[in-house]
């Protein structure tokens, strides 16, 4: 009991342990903890940053999709218009060609009718002359009666 030299022994021991702790124990543990803390904080910050970037990228992607859709709509509309125009043009042309051909055919038919009429008239007039000459038992002078024959042919 009571104070004695043990006190000095304890004080020296205490100082030695403080110095050991200060030199070998505290700094490495504290450093490791600080480093971990920093690492975790960095990780959280970068996660937040990535989240933000992801949102931006999503927005950008949506924008791109919207633009692409609009463009595609434009292109389809233009194509439709162009197609309709081509069809119209083809139709008009075809109609024109058809009409032209019809007209040509009509002309040819009329020409042929005219020819056939002329031929028929010639044959009728020949027959009339032949018939008349049979009736009169003599040659009709074709040249003398040419005018009358022409009139006749005209009436056929």
């Amino acid at each position: 009991m009571g104070i004695n030299a043990t006190l000095f022994g304890q004080m020296i021991t205490f100082l030695v342990f403080i110095l050991f702790t200060m030199k070998f124990v505290w700094p490495p543990i504290k450093q490791a903890m600080d480093e971990r803390e920093k690492r975790i904080a960095d990780g959280l910050a970068s996660a937040e940053r990535s989240q933000h970037e992801l949102e931006l990228a999503k927005e950008r992607a949506a924008e791109h999709i919207r633009e692409a859709k609009a463009q595609a709509g434009d292109i389809i509309e233009k194509a439709n218009r162009q197609g309709a125009a081509i069809v119209d043009e083809a139709r008009t042309e075809a109609r024109a060609v058809g009409e032209r051909e019809q007209a040509a055919a009509q002309a040819r038919i009329e020409q042929e009718i005219g020819q056939a009429k002329a031929q028929l008239r010639q044959e009728v007039s020949d027959l009339a002359i032949l018939g008349a000459s049979r009736i009169l038992e003599r040659e009709v002078d074709a040249k003398a009666h040419q005018q009358m024959l022409d009139e006749l042919a005209e009436q056929v």
Partner: protein
């Protein structure tokens, strides 16, 4: 129970193993036990410190880091100067004193009986119930308070505070100021050392008294006192540590 009367039994359990005479007596048991506990503390923490890394902590490293973080928070709250010395000091005090106090939970007869068997007549393994141990700490803290006062305020500032602080700087008031400051300074280590010593000494005596009861009745008060003591043991270590940090903070900061 040891042979002889109850008085002799208690006396025996409060006797230190000593070497030397008069003031130059050394309490071998206190010294050796506190060295061993200090080495245990240092060994445990150093083994973690050596392979400390910033990866996820495992096992014992978690416990050590919890202690370090706890101490670091306490020191950061109270002390605003450079912490290179104060934080390791606080850690040493807390864990070392905690280990000392834990010796109180070892049955009071165990080590004295082992000592007897080995031919050692007296063996007290509770360093905190030895005033030399607690005052060893608190006197060291006392010198640190003076060192930090001079470091923080300069020799002149510290002197000015000693002579002029509570009442004023008139030369007629110097003796009164000085007296008061000296009392205040000395009260710090005395109260620190006495508080720890008193708490643990009282606890030890009660454990010894409980050991005097008949064996079938010991467990009721024994368990109750031990459970209560589980609170006191870390609390006293914590109080010693926090007060040390607060005293050093008061010494370091200029508040004149």
């Amino acid at each position: 129970m040891a042979s002889g009367s109850a008085t002799e039994y208690v006396k025996h359990h409060l006797q230190h193993l000593t070497v030397g005479e008069g003031f130059w007596t050394l309490h071998i048991d206190t010294l050796v036990v506190s060295w061993l506990l200090g080495l245990l503390f240092f060994g445990l923490f150093y083994s973690v410190a050596r392979r400390a890394n910033a990866d996820a902590p495992t096992g014992f490293q978690t416990f050590v880091e919890t202690c370090v973080e706890f101490i670091d928070n306490q020191v950061s709250e109270s002390f605003h100067g450079p912490k290179d010395f104060v934080a390791p000091l606080a850690l040493t005090i807390f864990v070392w004193v905690l280990f000392w106090n834990l010796m109180d939970l070892i049955p009071v007869d165990l080590f004295p009986e082992i000592g007897m068997a080995l031919g050692i007549e007296y063996l007290r393994i509770l360093p905190s119930a030895d005033m030399n141990a607690t005052f060893g700490l608190s006197l060291t803290v006392f010198f640190l308070i003076i060192i930090y006062s001079i470091k923080g305020k300069g020799a002149k500032g510290f002197g000015k505070e000693l002579f002029c602080h509570p009442f004023g700087s008139h030369p007629a008031l110097w003796p009164a100021n000085l007296m008061l400051n000296i009392v205040e300074l000395i009260a710090k280590p005395v109260s620190l050392g006495m508080r720890l010593f008193g708490n643990l000494y009282a606890a030890e005596i009660i454990f010894i008294l409980i050991a005097l009861l008949p064996f079938w009745a010991q467990w009721i008060p024994g368990v109750a006192w031990a459970i209560f003591h589980i609170l006191v043991i870390p609390l006293q270590a914590f109080i010693f540590m926090v007060l040390t940090v607060v005293y050093l903070s008061l010494a370091y900061e200029d508040h004149g």
